[in-house]
Amino acid sequence: MQKFLLFLFWIAASLACTTAPATQPINGIPFDGTAYKPIYSSAEDLAKVKISAAEPLAEPGKIYLFDPYIFINESGKGIHIIDNSDPKNPKNLSFISITGNYDMAVKDNWLYADNLSNLLVFDIGDPKAPKLTKTIENAIPINSFPPHTNIYFECPEAKKGIVVGWEKVTISEQPKCFR
């Protein structure tokens, strides 16, 4: 009986190998020469938060209104703080550089922001000079795959660092990971 099971297992294993070689299309979606590649960062770089003078908008994302201030996310990079006391003449006050930032919310003088999987708390009593007062690590579960489906991607490797984003690249060899 045991031998028979082993035999079945051997058949299944060999079938698995022959029916799904790495270069076959997965889910019927052929590899088109493009794939997503992880953008890595070290834990130290990820934790770096820099507060600077106003910076121009480059890739504005979500908005958060806390009268008279508008907070504008710079996709994946941080938060612009705008003084909107006069909506005809909004003033760009400051920029908080945060890796992996897309979201924020404000209560009283506290600004909450995501830093990939970390939740950051800033004291914005002086919106020109926000102060990082707390970091709650691993507050936000994150995925180790790109935010897209039906695409090929390079499998992340923990030894290379923390995945902070994904970039679409053209590559010659079909990656092993797909979703």
Partner: protein, 276 residues
């Protein structure tokens, strides 16, 4: 003597009048109290109807948000969960609860005592009467897509964006109107085709839809279940929008744009901070 006789009689008449007055006054008092109570209830309903922003000291996000604050609670949706933090002490958020969800969670929109969560496969409605422990009431399932949601009165407006990154295949993007008057049993009442919708905003009889690089759409929802297009501003590429008191704040590829609109549906550009 006659006088003496009449006096007690007079007294009793007075007494009777007093008691009848009492009989009249007491119901009037009760009625008055009831009316006052009703007015109070109605006015509180009205004021909470006006805005989705439940707590005066917190701000308000756009429909694309994954972070939301109501009162002393911070809600964060990750791709696969709802994370709830108590921020009574604003400087020290304390984890209250975590609700595991399916993968593909995108946005959160608090409205009155409910949380509307947009996901790749539908819209989840949580009751957050107990803010530190929201309860799942229902899930309105739709085709695979990217979909923020806003709510006003009985209706939720959900945009479903198709495209390689959101919805496989060639299905069209759409705007769905969902009756959420019974949050335990949401029902779709209308759907129409959109271009490439991202964030959306609702205020009074107006529904605003960010159509990505294609522009900005203004719809009339005087009939809330039948949005009718009023304007399409191709010159305003848009991603997220916040609408407050006839004031629009829009972000997009071009930067930050602010507009003022009036009753006659005229739009005046207040300012812009361009992308450099």
């Amino acid at each position: 003597m006659f006088q003496m006789m009449i006096h007690p009689l007079k007294n009793t008449t007075v007494m009777r009048e007093l008691t009848t007055m009492k009989r009249k006054i007491v119901p009037i008092l009760f009625l008055g109290l009831a009316v006052a109570g009703l007015l109070l209830i109605l006015s509180s309903c009205e004021s909470s109807d006006k805005s989705s922003d439940l707590s005066p000291q917190a701000g308000v996000g756009g429909s694309m948000a994954r972070f939301a604050i109501t009162g002393n609670t911070l809600y964060i949706v990750s791709k696969q969960s709802l994370e709830v933090y108590n921020i009574t002490d604003g400087g020290s958020p304390v984890k209250a609860v975590k609700k595991n969800m399916n993968v593909g969670i995108e946005t959160i929109f608090p409205y009155q005592s409910h949380l509307f969560i947009g996901a790749n496969d539908g819209m989840y409605i949580y009751n957050n009467s107990n803010p530190n422990d929201p309860q799942l009431l229902s899930k309105f399932t739709h085709v695979q897509s990217c979909d923020p949601v806003v709510v006003q009165g009985k209706y939720a407006y959900v945009t479903l964006r198709s495209g390689a990154l959101c919805r496989p295949g060639n299905t069209l993007s759409s705007l769905d109107v969902v009756d959420v008057s019974n949050p335990s049993n949401p029902a779709m009442v209308h759907s129409q085709v959109m271009s490439s919708p991202f964030g959306l905003g609702v205020s009074g009889n107006k529904l605003f839809i960010c159509e990505g690089d294609q522009g900005f759409r203004v719809m009339d929802i005087s009939n809330p279940i039948l949005p009718v297009q009023k304007h399409f501003f191709a010159e305003i590429p848009s991603y997220d929008v916040i609408v407050r008191n006839k004031h629009l704040i829009i972000t997009g590829k071009g930067g930050l744009f602010q507009y003022q609109f009036d009753q006659d549906d005229k739009y005046e550009l207040l300012s812009k901070i361009p992308v450099l």
